[in-house]
């Protein structure tokens, strides 16, 4: 799959905001990934052309940042914060419960491709622990039942 015109236009608009166009690489990766789900080597090659850099320059950025993926993911990313403030309030117990209910371990994707589950470092919701993030949405003050209600509602 290649970059759509919309994504290319979006990247051009981002580039105009920075004194050097490479400044727009992270925004461009966000845009491309929102449309394609992950950044494949093919996508990296296309972006490299747009930015006039090497494909490896794109891929080393992709691999450095946790929020960029170099392979296909589930339709929903579910991340449970397991850093200290959340762990003190039961985040790892919650994670075990979710793993058992979904039948997968953190880092895996459900067989129907619905959910990719992961640990995540502090998300800035320390007083509202335990919590999880589905894509860009935070769900806070959880227990296993509340968490499963949210996950069951994902298409």
């Amino acid at each position: 799959m290649s970059l759509s015109e919309q994504v290319r236009d979006g990247i051009a608009r981002e580039m105009a905001k920075y004194p050097k166009k490479r400044g727009a690489l992270l925004p461009a990766l966000h845009l491309a990934q929102a449309e394609l789900g992950h950044i494949s080597v093919e996508t990296a090659k296309e972006l490299a052309e747009v930015f006039e850099i090497r494909p490896i320059d794109v891929m080393e950025v992709v691999s450095f940042y946790n929020m960029f993926y170099d392979r296909p993911q589930g339709r929903h990313h579910v991340y449970v914060c397991t850093n200290l403030p959340c762990s003190l309030r039961g985040a790892r117990t919650l994670m075990r419960g979710i793993e058992a209910r979904l039948g997968i371990e953190a880092g895996e994707t459900t067989a129907d491709g619905r959910i990719t589950l992961g640990h995540e470092e502090c998300l800035g919701a320390c007083a509202y622990a335990p919590m999880l993030r589905v894509g860009g949405t935070y769900h806070e003050d959880l227990d296993l039942e509340k968490a499963m209600q949210i996950l069951d509602g994902l298409e």
Binding site: K17, Y18, P19, K20, R22, G23, A24, L25, L26, P27, L29, H30, F51, E60, V61, F64, Y65, N66, M67, F68, T82, N83, L84, P85, S87, L88, R89, G90, R92, T93, R96, E120, E121, C122, L123, G124, A125, C126, A127, Y128, A129, R133, G135, G136, T137, Y138, E140, D141
Partner: protein, 431 residues
């Protein structure tokens, strides 16, 4: 759910009011008058001098004088100058910048405008951590409103001064909160910190003179402009003036945000404001300023929350993220979580950090499993010593300090694991 601070002061007093998030509501509360005053009645030097006199210290963790930092920006230069706003809030235990972005984005933009005038910067890059999708939307909305109203852009409030604000979203890397890691990331690269010198004021974003300030630091500035240095110094201590928004988490009755003067005692925050530990249990230890800062035992909580007093107890204010651990807590498990985090987030540039964080994590996990030896404790301290002060940025120090703190005050927890060859804290939080 993120809620407005339980105790408010000048930064957060209107955070309960939805209208305060809009340009109209912010203006109705006197918003943008301070920026207008700076741009029309004060020279850049006057503004820098005022912020220096007020004694504002950066609220991102290092506590450096904001006015002094601004004064490092070159005056005679034909290069464009930039500001960067560090909204990469990732220090575990910290969530104050999130509420400042969500509930008071115009307050921060006004602080940015004043700083831009003081430093001659034509553009600000606000670097918001990638996970903060909602705070980023709140801020973008405020930027759009301010642009449409001529508060940002080519002719700020009709003064002829130009200033643009660009919001950039990070993508999940703790190290991008380090100021030169942030600059690298802004340039579309891996967020690996730069060697200093040159400092950002000489060679910053895209090679141009740049000043990096934290979200909260900018938010204090309009209040200093409006009410003056003496008023600001009426809050806090002589060396650490003003308020800050403390975040309290862990084993307390009322976890949340509290805007209080610097110098407020830690035990007052934990017991009076946050209600102490639930169910009558006792406190075991408290991390006072985000996870990088060394822990304090229950016997040392009578300390004012300001760097000059916290340093005497070998810890620091950091981001003001206070984590409370009750008497059931296994400090070796805490060390496992802490060292895993730093191992995971090390950018990998410097050997001492890349290898040292892994060593620390493997050793404490071994001790927790019951397979540790007494020599392990000495190796752990030795590794800490070889990381501290040996690397390009302060990340390795931030990884070593909490381990040193745990061994300083809770060595007995580690030794008991070694003696019994198992974890002696069955009621501790699960790993």
């Amino acid at each position: 759910m993120l809620t407005v601070p339980y105790v408010t002061s000048y930064l957060s007093e209107h955070f309960g009011d939805d209208a305060f998030r809009t340009l109209e509501g912010y203006r109705a509360r006197g918003g943008y008058q301070a920026a207008k005053k700076a741009l029309t009645e004060m020279s850049p030097e006057d503004v820098v001098e005022l912020v220096k006199t007020a004694g504002l210290q950066g609220r991102g963790g290092a506590g450096f004088s904001t006015g002094l930092k601004w004064s490092f920006m070159p005056k005679e230069t034909d290069k464009p100058k930039y500001l960067a706003c560090n909204a990469d809030e990732s220090e575990p235990g910290s969530f104050k910048d999130r509420i400042l972005l969500e509930r008071g984005p115009h307050q921060m933009l006004e602080g940015i405008l004043i700083a831009a005038w003081a430093t001659g910067a034509e553009k600000t890059f606000v670097y918001v951590r990638g996970e903060y999708a909602y705070p980023a939307r709140c801020l973008q909305q405020a930027i759009d409103e301010a642009e449409a109203a001529g508060i940002l852009g080519a002719n700020v409030m009709g003064t002829g001064f130009r200033h643009d604000v660009v919001l950039m979203r990070g993508a999940g890397a703790y190290i991008c909160g380090e100021e030169t890691g942030l600059l690298e990331s802004l340039e579309g690269k891996k967020g690996q910190p730069r060697k200093k010198p040159p400092f950002p004021a000489q060679y910053g974003a895209f090679g141009m003179p740049t000043t990096v300030n934290n979200v909260e630091t900018f938010c204090h500035v309009p209040h200093i402009l409006t009410r003056g240095a003496d008023w600001f110094r009426g809050f806090g201590t002589e060396k650490s003036p003003g308020t800050t928004i403390f975040g309290v988490s862990g084993h307390v009755v009322r976890p949340g945000l509290y805007e209080l003067p610097l110098g407020t005692r830690l035990d007052e925050i934990v017991f009076e404001h946050a209600g102490g530990v639930p169910d009558g249990r006792k406190v075991k230890g408290v991390i006072p300023g985000g996870m990088s800062m060394p822990v304090l035992p229950a016997s040392m909580l009578d300390v004012p929350m300001a760097n000059e007093s916290l340093r005497e107890r070998k810890t620091m204010l950091g981001t003001g993220g206070i984590m409370v651990m009750d008497e059931t807590t296994c400090m070796v498990r805490a060390a496992c979580v802490i060292t895993y985090f730093f191992r995971d987030e090390s950018c990998g540039q410097c050997t001492q950090c890349r290898e040292g964080t892994g060593w620390m994590n493997r050793i404490v996990e071994r001790i927790e499993r019951g397979a540790g030896t007494h020599e392990d404790l000495e190796v752990l301290l030795d590794v800490c010593g070889k990381m501290e002060g040996q690397t390009i940025c302060a990340f390795a120090d931030a990884a070593a300090w909490p381990v040193q703190g745990l061994l300083r005050h809770f060595r007995e927890d580690f030794e008991e694991h070694v003696r019994r060859q198992k974890c002696p804290f069955p009621d501790s939080f699960e790993l």
